[in-house]
């Protein structure tokens, strides 16, 4: 069975020369949820940005059978939806409905169709009533859900979420967990929150200094890398 | 200084709106061609930065503090064309949302602050930004951007017939000079702090420099600024407000336009020629980038 994502030997250096990724191999199967764990600066986000072509390193990255490069970037970005850590950077349009329709309009859909599908996506995340609101009127949890709607509206096969629980209080985190559990897409969760990862992910990989140094279930990795104190169970 | 509606006489605001519209259109179209829409978020966010930066207080004397105005800083980091676009957006938002500056007076305010102020601020850097006089050039640029905007605004008010006795004028010019020096100091301080964080934030001045054109531009700016300063301080100027008659009256005025004295028309002509020269250089320098 062909993997949804296949990465082999990924290397990447920042413009100033520091090595950010030193040979990463990774795969993601259909409907699988994988957690990327690791300390700050270990390369998790840098790695994820290669999956939709925002960064380009050496090695091979294949998403849904397509090699990721400049030409295929447009197609790849329809298949893989990225939810960034800072919702304010993601919700850049004046109103919620404007923002959620953004991706659809870029894909060439008409205004009315885009608005309709955007509204459907908002209903999916429970934010349809906020369609005409401005983003700064929303709480952190609401913004995160709208950001997810903006990505869902494009009908991707894979969702990548970068530290989605930052800024969320426990009730909002719980709401996010239920929402994500309902979504059928394959997911990659970049997170520090081992508890959050354990509830959603069947598999995890552990990043350290630009390499994947461990793979297994969330709880196994947490134990072997001494992140026990983070798990509240 | 943002001029509200109701201050400028009709020929002045109408002429400046007519002058600003094509200038803004040209600069915006240029920016769009160079940048397409990808630079919109950067320019928008840096505009928000300029607003927010006003909250940071710089101690400049006993019990007083100043804050950044920002035209020169933006010109050194984003380039003069982008800086003009950002400042135009700022002036527009200030007029609409904060009632700081009028709507009919937008042309005047945009010309003063977003176009001519930015240009005046950028010129010293354009010439001396790569020499040993770099710091002085940055300081001078910051000071000149504020001074030019303020003096242009003042001269537009005077041409509109707003009366200003010599003492008031002197005090205003003194305040402008102080705020210009403050802006120079803050701009320099900010640039140095930025260089410590990330040197490539700051634009390198264009390597190909035409000294002749640049000298003309600088002369034009100084002419306009200096000319108004001299005109306003000359004894035959303001003091004759009551007795001198306007050289021409417009169909719009229901009362006399207070003249600046018998030397009114030559000064106006010099000002307009200066503006025209600056425009020409604006376009030429703009094309080179």
């Amino acid at each position: 069975m062909a993997a949804l994502i296949e990465v082999r030997g990924l290397h990447y250096r920042y413009p100033d020369g520091t090595a950010a990724l030193r040979g990463v191999d990774f795969h993601l199967e259909e409907q699988e949820s994988v957690a990327l764990l690791g300390a700050n600066g270990s390369g998790k986000t840098t790695f994820a940005l290669h999956l939709n072509g925002l960064l380009a390193g050496e090695g091979s990255v294949t998403v849904c059978g397509l090699g990721v490069n400049r030409q295929s970037a447009g197609q790849i970005r329809r298949k893989i939806g990225f939810v960034f850590q800072d919702s304010d950077s993601q919700l850049f349009m004046p109103t919620v409905i404007d923002d959620v329709s953004f991706g659809l309009l870029n894909q060439g859909h008409g205004a009315q169709e885009s608005a309709g599908r955007a509204l459907a996506a908002l209903e999916r995340v429970g934010m349809a009533s906020a369609a005409a609101k401005a983003p700064y009127h929303l709480s952190a949890g609401e913004k995160k859900r709208v950001a997810i709607a903006g990505v869902l509206a494009m009908d991707p096969q894979i969702l990548v979420l970068d530290e989605p629980t930052t800024f969320l209080d426990p009730p909002a985190q719980r709401a996010l967990i239920s929402l994500l559990q309902e979504l059928p897409q394959a997911k990659i969760l970049i997170t520090h929150d081992a508890c959050f990862a354990a509830e959603l992910c069947t598999r995890a990989v552990f990043f350290d200094k630009g390499r994947i140094v461990g793979e297994g279930s969330v709880l196994e990795l947490v134990k072997s890398f001494g992140w026990d104190s983070a798990v509240r169970r | 200084m943002h001029i509200p509606d109701g201050f400028l006489s009709t020929p002045v605001w109408a002429a400046l709106d007519a002058a600003a519209a094509p200038a803004v259109g040209l600069i915006a179209r240029r920016a769009q061609r160079t940048f397409d829409d990808s630079k919109v978020p950067l320019l928008g966010v840096m505009g928000a930065f300029v607003f927010a930066a006003q909250m940071i207080n710089f101690p400049v004397g006993p019990g007083t503090s100043g804050h950044l105005v920002g035209g020169a800083l933006l010109a050194y980091t984003l380039g003069p064309a982008a800086a003009s676009v950002v400042l135009t957006a700022i002036v527009t938002i200030q007029a609409l949302v904060f009632q700081d500056g009028g709507i009919l007076a937008l042309g005047a305010n945009v010309l003063n602050m977003a176009i001519l102020g930015v240009l005046a601020g950028y010129l010293p850097y354009h010439f001396w930004g790569r020499t040993r006089g770099r710091r002085l050039a940055i300081f001078a640029g910051g000071a000149l951007s504020v001074l030019t905007s303020a003096v242009l605004a003042l001269s537009e008010l005077l041409f509109s017939g707003i009366r200003m006795p010599g003492t008031v004028l002197g005090v205003s010019l003194g305040l402008f000079a102080v705020s210009a020096l403050v802006e120079g100091a803050i701009t320099l301080g900010a640039i140095r702090a930025l260089e410590a964080i990330q040197p490539d934030f700051i634009c390198r001045p264009d390597a190909r420099r035409s000294f002749a054109l640049g000298a003309v531009a600088l002369a034009a700016v100084l002419l306009v600024t200096g000319g108004v300063l001299l005109a306003s301080s000359a004894p035959d100027g303001i003091e004759r407000l009551g007795s001198a008659r306007a050289l021409f009256s417009t169909p719009f005025s229901g009362y006399d336009i207070a003249a600046l004295g018998r030397g009114w028309f030559p000064k106006a002509a010099a000002g307009l020629v200066g503006l025209g020269l600056v425009y020409g250089v604006c376009l030429i320098i703009g094309r080179r980038r």
Binding site: S89, I97, N106 | D37, P41, V45, I56, A89, G189, F252
Partner: protein
């Protein structure tokens, strides 16, 4: 912050709120020009215009006292000039400064307090202003609050480091760098959702019969008032 209050007023509902932005902008310009060019019987004319604006604001169901107070922002600057002009021997001009600047600000507020800014900017664009410039203004407005909040933190940081010139310059530089970085994240988020160099608007406001009627009526009112008053003498 000031603009938050204005934003709230602009999102209410009233017949005026529902008008097309162009149907409000054109009468505004007419009003401002009629006021700016008026010299005879200015106090009487001003009183009539003031009444006209108050009626408009009441019809728009925005808080009258709040708007009147907000327009008074122009007064400190204007009163100084008016006083100087008065002392210099032209009291009529001094009074004109005050009346014209206050009424102009009030008229602008009547439009801005009944039209959300992004909608207003779209109206300005449809009337011929450069789109690029208006998109920049839209983003500026969106991120005004976000960057201002960061500036508050920076201000405290500078103060806690002794409030010196250098501390302030450092704070400014950090704010600059953060804003720049956020702009980069916004751009990445745009690319991740398929942005290809051009923004596509969701919907263009349509002109209805009510808009045409309002435009005609609102544009004629100040003109007719002025003609009537100047005829009376």
């Amino acid at each position: 912050m000031h603009h938050v209050v204005l934003d709230q007023w602009s999102r209410r509902s009233s017949p005026l709120h529902r008008r097309d932005p162009r149907a409000k902008l054109i009468p505004l310009i007419v009003f401002l020009v009629v006021l700016a060019t008026s010299h005879r019987l200015l106090p009487v004319f001003s009183a009539c215009l003031f009444a006209l604006l108050c009626v408009t604001l009441l019809w728009a169901r925005v808080p009258l006292g709040g708007v009147l107070a907000r327009a008074a922002i122009v007064l400190p600057f204007t009163i100084v000039f008016a006083a100087v002009t008065w002392v210099a021997g032209d009291p009529a001009r001094g009074a004109a400064l005050v009346l014209k600047s206050y009424l102009s600000a009030l008229a602008v507020l009547a439009v801005v307090s009944t039209t959300p800014l992004p909608v207003l900017l779209r109206g300005v664009e449809m009337l011929g202003a450069p789109r690029f410039l208006l998109m920049v203004s839209q983003f500026l407005y969106r991120y005004l609050f976000v960057v201002s909040e960061e500036a508050q933190h920076m201000r405290k940081a500078a103060a806690s480091r002794g409030g010196s010139f250098r501390a302030a310059a450092g704070a400014l530089a950090v704010l600059f760098a953060r804003s720049y970085k956020q702009a980069g994240e916004i751009h990445s988020a745009m690319l991740a959702r398929g942005f290809q160099g051009r923004f596509h608007p969701l919907a263009a406001p349509h002109f209805h019969a009510a808009d045409t009627a309002f435009l005609i009526f609102a544009s004629s009112a100040p003109v007719l008032l002025r003609v009537a008053i100047e005829r009376m003498v």
